[in-house]
Symmetry: C2
Subunit: 470 residues, 2 copies
């Protein structure tokens, strides 16, 4: 096999460079022609598409329905909720000309759709019978980025944004939490094999216009944190600004309670950095667009490779046969490793003779087994399930080993140099948070001591998770 | 049941008004806040989502892979292919400010992605081994509309756009045709139950920058034509403008041959106008998000209605149980008719006693049968299949009855007053085409006399399909 030295910069040497290289070499994405934009290549998009399909099922299981709202938002809408416009204004892209003329009112390219959806909710909701109204949208959004990074922070990205209206504070609160737990943390854990920490954002880190933001935080392999999704309780802020009111059962007029929640193509960046190693990506089998690649080493092995491909496909395994024997075998093997395919089956002329194949487990550090061809297809499904479980367990162990409980603010900087720290929120507070922010350290979220979700930042005994973050 | 007179303006009285009303009353879509934009409501989106899922499978069956390219295109890209920029410039929306500053180069909000995809194809294609390159994208696009109409012509719409590069003219030509036939006409016929006419556009009607445009034309119930999808051979125009070249097997440098093809949310508009009647929508069962609605007429029928719902769901029928017995039964029945649900099961207290239900076939003009509860679920799947077949057959009969072969240009205006006309293209030609265009009549497409696809407008013996069109 070709030497691996040249494939990627080792993570330990330069993690950001490793990240850039892997995106290019595994053909996940390219920079777009406009600064900060991204071209998602077929392999990257296939990963996103599978995340999207699973998320769509989870969101629908919570009762929400998909809809689509326009890309362009009148500037005046953005201004109706004061905190919201303030939070977003430096990031907005503005259309001033269309149809060959200057527009009377400039149009904002949506950075998120709270305002336009608020306007339509006000129109559609009349009585308590119209509630809850549970909407979700798959769309592109634009937030101008000065320091873009592919998948993590791009001027345009793809996401889903949920927007719901409820008759009571409690119902809205419970719904926002259910989405965070069942849809978001559920998918991240089960599909992406990333064990996220679910918690409450501090006032400083909250979404513009929200009264509470719940976040799912993941640890990357360099010890930094990445926010993979958020779910917001918006209280009555948007229903007040947009007049989302309803007639209650008793005939009185009330304001609705709204929520919003989103996850994006950033999850692909999280997947890369949570699992990738010096040989390339590592894709969990449940997610992988290709779970098994069967390589014919030489032309004589082609027929057997194709037959094995057929047997695996018949068992519902997502399989690709690579019989491009005009390309050096070593190069092909390295490429499939880069792409993180969970299992690689190598079949050479001697294997054909011996009726065996070499099975390489990418996710178990490249462990190799010689397997009789007759047993191969039968063994693969269980190996894939096992690899999925082991990947999550390994990620959880690695994360927990890197979370250091500390007793004072002074210990935080060292503790977060290669992982996260936890500290009593009572000892830190907003003042301490501000001080650490100057050093590039943020409170990722607050949890109760038993790991559950706080109702307020002011509850005593909360634990703050601290980290450097993307 | 409530009188139906007030539900919709009859089609015969005012077709455009009928169209507007049905979209509002069946809760398919709303006008967006910015002129010409559209809010797709959950029921309309559920229809689109099912079209999208089927189209995605059909496109992947032709070997194309999904990818995503940026929304914003540098103005300079649009200018590289002369016909292309000329074709689109009056429709463009332009971003001039972003991130709080005026941009050095204005950005075009994509009206289609030929130019940006051309740029990346040039980068990705080096050798004949990289061909064919078969890409598809699901995205929103913006073309400013002065006379917008929901689903048919909106300033922003959702679509898929395919873009491919090939090593030879023949391969590109065949691929563009295969997409038009297998993916587009296949879906329109099998899923939407709309029998489309596939043909070649005249030079006048061709896509800006294409050497050939294949179109799928559908007849609406007012006799007008609607273009439901197009597939373009772009020759070497874009590969020349963007430098999409490759090294051939012999080592020589050649230009690639490219195609592009698209279908959009306009198909939802076509569905409404091809099948809808004075009572509302009529959704083909294969497409319908809800195939059967089970109505409990009174509270005493709720349990039975829910049980029937369960039995139908167990047979993979997409079913909804409507047990809102606090809303008048007549109003609910009219609403489900408006929404075009193929089968309606009505269960009242007397039905519960007699262990029967009333089965109403929306697609067969509201035919009513009394069916024993024990037989109901078993009979439904076959009824749905039958309704799908009958709907297509009826649409084909209605279309064919309204196509009038004429022998001269003078007969065309009368022939197209309530349908389409066919006329020998040799007798019409580009000069006749131009004259008819002044009267609002266009050549929808050209076919050979045997219905097959011409290779050139100049072939003798071609038949022109003429109509007024949306």
């Amino acid at each position: 096999m070709a030497s691996r030295k040249a494939v990627l910069t080792p993570q330990a040497e330069n993690f950001p460079r490793w990240y850039q290289e892997i995106i290019a070499k595994a053909e996940l994405a390219d920079n777009g022609p406009v600064r900060g934009t991204m071209v998602i290549r077929p392999y990257g998009y296939a990963i996103w598409e599978r995340i999207q399909a699973d998320m769509d099922v989870r969101i629908k299981a919570q009762g929400a329905e998909n809809a689509y709202f326009p890309l362009f938002i009148p500037e005046s809408y953005m201004r109706r909720e004061a905190e919201h416009v303030e939070g977003f204004s430096p990031e907005l892209a503005v259309v001033t000309h269309a149809g060959g003329k200057e527009l009377e009112e400039p149009l904002i390219v949506r950075p998120t759709s709270e305002t336009v959806i608020g306007e339509y909710m006000a129109k559609w909701v009349q009585s308590f019978r119209d509630l809850p109204l549970l909407l979700n949208q798959w769309a592109n959004v634009v937030r101008w980025e000065l320091r873009p990074r592919l998948f993590l922070r791009t001027s345009e990205f793809l996401w889903q944004e949920g927007h719901t209206a409820h008759a009571s504070y409690e119902e809205a609160r419970d719904y926002a939490r259910r989405i965070a737990r069942e849809a978001y943390a559920g998918l991240m854990t089960d599909l992406l094999a990333i064990p996220v920490v679910l918690g409450r954002k501090t006032a400083r880190e909250r979404f513009a216009g929200a009264v509470n933001t719940i976040t799912a935080e993941a640890m990357m392999r360099d010890g930094k944190a990445l926010q993979l999704g958020t779910s917001h309780e918006l209280g009555q802020n948007f229903s007040r600004a947009f007049g989302i009111g309803f007639t209650g059962p008793g005939g009185g007029r009330e304001l609705a309670w709204t929520t919003s929640w989103g996850t994006s193509t950033r999850m692909v960046g999280g997947l890369i950095m949570a699992h990738g190693d010096d040989q390339g990506l590592r894709i969990p089998p449940a997610l992988a667009p290709v779970q098994v690649v069967v390589l014919a080493v030489k032309p004589e092995a082609r027929d057997v490779a194709r037959r094995m491909g057929g047997e695996l496909a018949a068992r519902q395994v997502r399989v690709t046969v690579d019989d491009r024997t005009d390309v050096a075998f070593g190069r092909r093997a390295v490429d499939w490793e880069l792409k993180g395919i969970p299992l690689r089956v190598e079949i050479g002329p001697r294997d054909v003779e011996a009726q065996t194949a070499v099975l390489v487990r990418r996710l178990a550090g490249g462990e190799r087994d010689v397997v009789p061809l007759a047993d191969l297809a039968g063994r693969v499904p269980a190996l894939l399930l096992q690899a999925q479980r082991e990947m999550l367990a390994a990620a959880r162990r690695a994360r927990d080993a890197r979370i250091t409980p500390v007793g004072s603010m002074a210990e935080v900087p060292e503790a977060v140099s290669e992982g996260w720290a936890t500290l009593d929120w009572d000892r830190l507070g907003p003042a301490g948070e501000l001080e650490l922010a100057d050093a590039g350290i943020t409170v990722r979220c607050l949890q109760r001591a038993d790991g559950s979700m706080p109702d307020s930042d002011a509850e005593p005994g909360l634990v703050a998770f601290l980290a450097r973050a993307y």
